[in-house]
Point group: C2
Chain length 267, copies 2
């Protein structure tokens, strides 16, 4: 369970209880959720309950208009590595950032991303924290992430070397004409670090906060799961649903229960 799915105001401890109550023992928290309870207490809760942390969300946001801004981003990413290590997370998810300031230079932003990951990589390797580049849907290219396809993320992995992989979120990649080829390539490279699921609603009423529960939209979740498993990934599917007006308004245990039901039937 990616804990972004449970943003109904509950504490980290309550979210964990909501997961455990439905038999879910793997979580992926967000850094603000960890900060709210404190890193040490969060790590204690994780260990006391034998939880698997499939990822920490998120590092990234590398592009900035000036060197000071990029340096600050790097410092924050170093802290994210330390937090991921303290939680024993399987990976640190990177949402790489979009165009800095009023820039129109997407090639330049992409170079800042490559440079930023390269700069944080030695510390991530030393900490044993794999970095999972998450390509985001092209509708976020300007303001959230200028890495927008699996193939583009894999090109970065080739450039950067060991310790970097990809997080494949069906919401961001389902439309890709080369989806099957890109997932197979990621498998060949041994690069698949995470598999996020939710659904694409028709219509989608908000570009960020209107993701659907699995089964409520048009993504062929079983088909993509087959591609990812055929590529050698054997980890969990992680439910990540940003849903301001629907799921974020419901009790956490109900949301988790629904996720489990849908996982069993439509994923």
């Amino acid at each position: 369970m990616n804990l972004a799915t449970l943003r109904n105001g509950a504490s980290f401890g309550q979210m964990v209880d909501d997961c455990l109550g439905q038999g879910v023992t793997a979580i992926s928290p967000w850094r603000d959720q960890i900060a709210a309870v404190g890193l040490a207490e969060a790590a204690r809760i994780v260990q006391a309950n034998g939880l698997r942390v499939t990822g920490l969300c998120r590092g990234g946001m590398f592009p900035a208009p000036d060197a000071a801004g990029r340096h600050a981003a790097l410092d924050d990413n170093f802290r994210a590595i330390d937090e991921a290590a303290a939680l024993g997370a399987d990976c640190l998810v990177l949402v790489v950032g979009g165009l800095p300031g009023a820039s129109k230079d997407i090639a330049g932003a992409r170079q800042m991303v490559a440079d930023g990951i390269a700069a944080m990589l030695p510390r991530a390797r030393a900490a044993g924290v794999p970095l999972a580049i998450e390509p985001l849907h092209p509708m976020y290219a300007a303001d959230r992430a200028c890495v927008n396809t699996i193939d583009q993320a894999l090109d970065l992995c080739v450039e950067l070397g060991e310790g970097v992989g990809v997080a494949i979120d069906v919401y961001h990649v389902w439309w890709d004409p080369n989806l099957a080829g890109a997932i197979a390539r990621a498998g060949d490279m041994g690069c698949i670090l995470a598999h996020h699921i939710c659904d694409w609603l028709v219509p989608t009423t908000d570009m960020l906060l209107d993701r659907g529960m699995m089964g409520d939209g048009i993504i062929d979740l079983k088909a993509i799961r087959s591609m990812i498993e055929a590529a050698g990934y054997a980890g969990p599917q992680e439910v990540e649903i940003f849903s301001r007006d629907t799921w974020w308004k419901r009790p956490g245990d109900e949301v988790v229960k629904t996720c489990v039901e849908r996982y069993r039937t439509v994923c």
Copy 2:
């Protein structure tokens, strides 16, 4: 001037006057705008004013849940060819359609698109109307167009043969990591039939109707123009702005005047 930019309630004749008043002599109308005035009268206005019709918008929308639906779409596309021929349009723009009904089968929808274009192509060739496949931004893959990159459209062109090309709209393709390569490929194939411009606003508040005036967003219009002209395209840049809350509320002559000013300064 793509006449979708001037949807403020004006008639076709008024839109033409708004264009001519600012020295704009090339237009691209939508079929509903033509239907409202009548095809014969629209053709008369075009000829009487010596207008160039850079494209007719739009054909396409091929996928349908059943054979009857696909047959009806094809009939409508035949009519669109006839209208484009009557107006002397440089091409018929195709927005190919998304997933039919509640389908999750995007590969199937893409096959319906290929089959639909193949079926209309003999008539288009006979009428001398090139078909311009317009790849739409991936955020429209579900409900509007399942052809989402220039490369994907060019693969269709290779499959379908003579009489088919691409309409390159910066709004849909600016984010593409392979943009330069895809545009060069389109040039090598002699396939660039249209070049649409507008801008991507940050934030974008509506997925369909919040396009920006050139210069108000983050697209590097000059860079993309250079790529397209280097690829051998020497036709006009066509302004297509869906803007319900801003430009559609302003007088047509003001909108055209602004387009001309921005064309001269930021494109």
